[in-house]
């Protein structure tokens, strides 16, 4: 399976509908400080079901909705869609392409979809459960993890092994 697309709309610093298209291999995401690169990584975490606002660098989940900037007004909701090619049939579904969508309104209301059909957050988590994706996997590695894995205590490191087991 591979990631073929990611669409952000009203998510963090992306007020307008923005679509990224990916291909197999190594892709570098580049740009100046503060331009939105880590926000793209946050979008992937979020659409895969991350519920800890702190992991997304905030105290409130509402802060993932575009807060307005310059002439642009704050967005009413944040929406992210992730598209994977189910090439190896790893996902327990007959579709060859799977799109998952998460939306959060300022009211606090949330919506989730798989291939445009409404579902619950846990359906998304179940879908990816055995693929190595999801909030505790190593599908996202950031510099802070690199620093803490060595400086943490031996017992904390053990927990990482248990999660992988």
């Amino acid at each position: 399976m591979y990631l073929s697309g990611l669409e952000l709309y009203g998510f963090k610093s992306f007020p307008t509908r923005t679509k990224l298209t990916f291909s197999p291999g190594v892709m570098a995401i580049v740009g100046p400080n503060g331009c939105g690169k880590t926000n793209i990584v946050d979008a992937v975490r979020w659409v895969l079901g991350e519920q800890r606002a702190g992991i997304l660098r905030s105290d409130k989940m509402e802060n993932v909705i575009f807060a307005g900037a310059g002439a642009k007004k704050p967005s009413k909701f944040a929406e992210v869609t992730l598209i994977v090619e189910n090439t190896l049939g790893l996902l327990p579904t007959e579709y060859s392409e799977v799109a998952i969508t998460r939306r959060l309104h300022r009211s606090g209301e949330s919506e989730y979809m798989i291939n445009r059909r409404t579902c619950r957050l846990r359906d998304i988590r179940t879908l990816f459960a055995d693929t190595g994706l999801g909030p505790d996997s190593y599908s996202i590695i950031e510099l802070a993890m690199v620093e803490s894995i060595l400086s943490g205590r031996p017992e904390e490191r053990r927990r990482l092994f248990e999660e992988a087991a």
Binding site: T18, T21, M27, I29, G31, C35, V84, Y138, I149, L150
Partner: protein, 164 residues
């Protein structure tokens, strides 16, 4: 449960030792279970870069620590590989030759994993198959700029290149 943990530990340990040597171009490293019940014991790390005598990880340099941690994180990753992996600026503490070995490693794994690497490092950019540019307008909203196909791909296809 104990057997399952020890099996996992054994595989991750093997991956770690192999990855360490590939990233450092030599040297050796190992993991050890602390004393006591294997179901509770913490995990200790020992790492010796090529040519050096010490194995305590506190005395390692910033870049050596980062590379050792990358070897361990990848070793854990291989135990439960995901189809794609985002790496956010993990190459920041590395010097040029270590960045090159890091890029070699990613290349070796692209048969089973797709890598999306956020980076400021020019060498990492050169080694990527494609580049995605992100920019921010004065008024605080992000947008994408054209995707560039890496130079070596263009020599093959003679495709268009975006000037920046």
């Amino acid at each position: 449960a104990r057997k399952r943990f020890l099996d996992t530990f054994g595989r991750v340990h093997g991956n770690f030792q192999d990855l360490f040597v590939r990233l450092f171009g030599g040297g050796e490293a190992r993991l050890e279970l602390a004393d006591g019940d294997p179901l509770e014991a913490g995990i200790k790390i020992f790492a010796t870069p090529r040519g050096k005598n010490l194995s305590a990880i506190d005395l390692l340099s910033g870049g050596e620590k980062a590379l050792t941690a990358i070897a361990l994180l990848f070793a854990l990753y291989l135990e439960r590989p995901s189809p794609f992996c985002f790496l956010d600026e993990v190459d920041a503490p590395l010097d040029d030759s270590n960045v090159g070995r890091f890029a070699d490693l990613l290349e070796d794994f692209t048969d089973r994993t797709q890598f999306l690497v956020v980076t400021h490092n020019k060498l990492t950019m050169e080694r990527a198959d494609r580049l995605y540019g992100v920019t921010m307008e004065e008024e605080g909203s992000s947008r994408l700029v054209a995707v560039e196909i890496a130079a070596r791909e263009m020599e093959k296809d003679d495709g268009p290149v975006t000037d920046d």
